[in-house]
Each structure stands twice: as C-alpha cells, then as structure tokens.
C-alpha cells in the first residue's frame, strides 16, 4: 500500500520534473532577461489560483532570515508585479513563507486546530542574475515547488 501510493505521487511529480528539465536547459536564456523573482500560488485542492494569500519574502543575513517585504496574491494567484525586479534581485539565499493555513481557513476549509501545514517556507538561492519563478502547488496536506519559468 505504502509503496503503491508513493509510486503514484512519484509519477505525478515526475511530470513536473520532466518540465523542469527544459527550464534548466534554458538557464542560459533566462540570464538574458531582466533579473526578477516572481511567484505563483496554485490551490490544487480547489482547482484554482490561490487568491489573497500572504507571502513573506526574507533574505538570509548571517544566520537569520531578515524580512524584506510582504506581498499578497491577487485572483490570478500572483502578486501585483514581480516580488523583486532588476537590481533588487541580488544573488543570495531567500525564503518565501506562504501562509497556507490562513488561506484555507479563509476559504472555510476545516483544518485541525493545529494545522498540518501552517506557514510553508520555500528556501532557495538566486545564484546568478536571472529570472526566478517560484510556483507553489498546494493543498492542506501537501505541496510542490520548483524552479519555473
């Protein structure tokens, strides 16, 4: 049972990873565009973009993550404009903190009093000036992220 489930999810993830192969091959092309960081929250539980989700952006500063800004997604599941653009999108280690439990509570989804997923941290590096698109595909019980385009 256990292996069967994991294989099924594994295969689903394989599709996403397959798509990623293309984006990593195109890494050279991404460096030509204006450096930017964008995100997209997709609620695959409800089958629609995750609107009105709070996302905190922090940068690793020494040992700690320091808050840079807070954004909210629109009806498209994206914030208005890039999270960081041009000079702002410096090489460094970042965290996007997605407020997942608040989002689902806002939709009226019944969650445990201590939600399994509350605030989801996605930590990644901007390793060269380029476009970094960070999608989050989420449910109250799972999520996926990857370098998109």
């Amino acid at each position: 049972m256990n292996d069967a489930i994991e294989r099924r999810v594994f295969l689903t993830a394989g599709l996403a990873v397959g798509a990623l192969g293309a984006s990593s091959v195109a890494a050279g092309a991404q460096t030509a565009v204006t450096p930017r960081m964008t995100l997209h929250a997709l609620d695959v539980y409800s089958g629609k973009p995750a609107a009105n989700m709070r996302v905190d952006l922090s940068v690793l500063d020494g040992q700690n993550y320091r808050l840079i800004k807070t954004v909210n997604t629109t009806v498209s599941g994206r914030p208005e404009g890039p999270v960081l653009s041009g000079e702002e999108c410096k090489v460094g280690e970042y965290e996007l903190l997605f407020h997942v439990a608040d989002y689902y509570a806002g939709l009226g989804v019944k969650l445990p009093s201590l939600p399994f997923l509350n605030k989801v941290p996605v930590r990644f590096a901007v390793f060269e000036p380029a476009a970094y698109h960070i999608p989050l595909l989420l449910t109250p019980w799972s999520y996926s992220t990857y370098r998109g385009s």
Binding site: V109, P112, N118, F124, A125, W141, R147
Partner: protein
C-alpha cells in the same frame, strides 16, 4: 469536505487513510499505549531512485524556537532506520521541522549544481495534531524541485 479524514482521502486519492485507521486497532488499552510515530522517506526524482545517505535534522518547536532533537541519515531505501518520533500521548503534539540536506546529497551523486545551489537544505514545517497517529512525511526531490505530503 466534512471531516479531515475525508479531505485527506480526496487529496491522496486512495483508501490509505482507512488502512492507517484500521492499523491503530480497536482495543482501548492497546490504543492508549500506541505512541505517535513519525517516519520519512527521501525519493530522488532526478535519478529515479531512493535518496540514500541524505542527512536529515529533526527539530521540535519549544517556545518560539526550533530545537534539534536528532539527526539521522537515510538508508539504501531512502528511509531513516527507526521512527523519528516514538512518543506516547499528548507530548507528541506540536510543531516540527525536518531539514533535508538536499544539495549535499546531489553533489555526492555527481549532479552539477550552481553555487550557491538553487535548493540547499529543504525545511518542511508541519504539525502533529493528534496523538496515537502515524505521520509519514516524504520528500520527493531534484536539484530544482521538491514535493512533500502527509503520507501513510
């Protein structure tokens, strides 16, 4: 969705949640002694194999800080040899973090990573909200992506 159990079944698309419930058993005394368990599993979706030799830090929120409980390394099957959390009763409830040392693993396996790597250490923050339950938290990862979920 009317209950959490139904929600999970919808998400996983399987009857696995039922199997977990059944496995907990019906004997009240045995049930009271059943500890909460936490297990994990690393799957390398880049190479299509279990992630062997992945360092995982296991932390619990104490006050407003995550405190390291133990560090384990995955075996040939991508699993920690023993449950991370065999704790009885309500003491198991709380906020937890698993930190998977993903970039170290992919470097060892020969993958070409940027410096700094796009994904270095993956933090999965989750809550154990019911005692006597089994929490399985797998990580499916590549150098450019990862997925986690409440498994069984």
């Amino acid at each position: 969705m009317t209950t959490n159990a139904i929600g999970r079944r919808e998400v996983l698309g399987t009857g696995a949640a039922l199997a977990v419930v059944a496995a907990i058993g019906s004997d009240a005394e045995a049930q009271s002694k059943t500890p909460s368990r936490l297990t994990t599993h690393v799957l390398d979706t880049y190479s299509g194999i279990p992630g062997e030799g992945v360092t995982i830090d296991f932390l619990k929120m104490e006050g407003d800080q995550y405190k390291l409980q133990k560090t384990v390394t995955t075996n040939h099957d991508g699993r920690s040899g023993e449950p991370l959390l065999p704790v009885e009763g309500a003491a198991a409830q709380g906020q937890y973090r698993l930190v998977f040392h993903v970039a170290d693993y992919f470097r060892k396996s020969g993958a070409q990573l940027p410096n700094p790597p796009f994904i270095d250490r993956v933090s999965i923050d989750f809550a154990i909200y019911e005692d006597k339950e089994h929490y399985h938290v797998p990580l499916l990862c590549s150098p450019w992506s990862y997925t986690t979920y409440r498994g069984s």
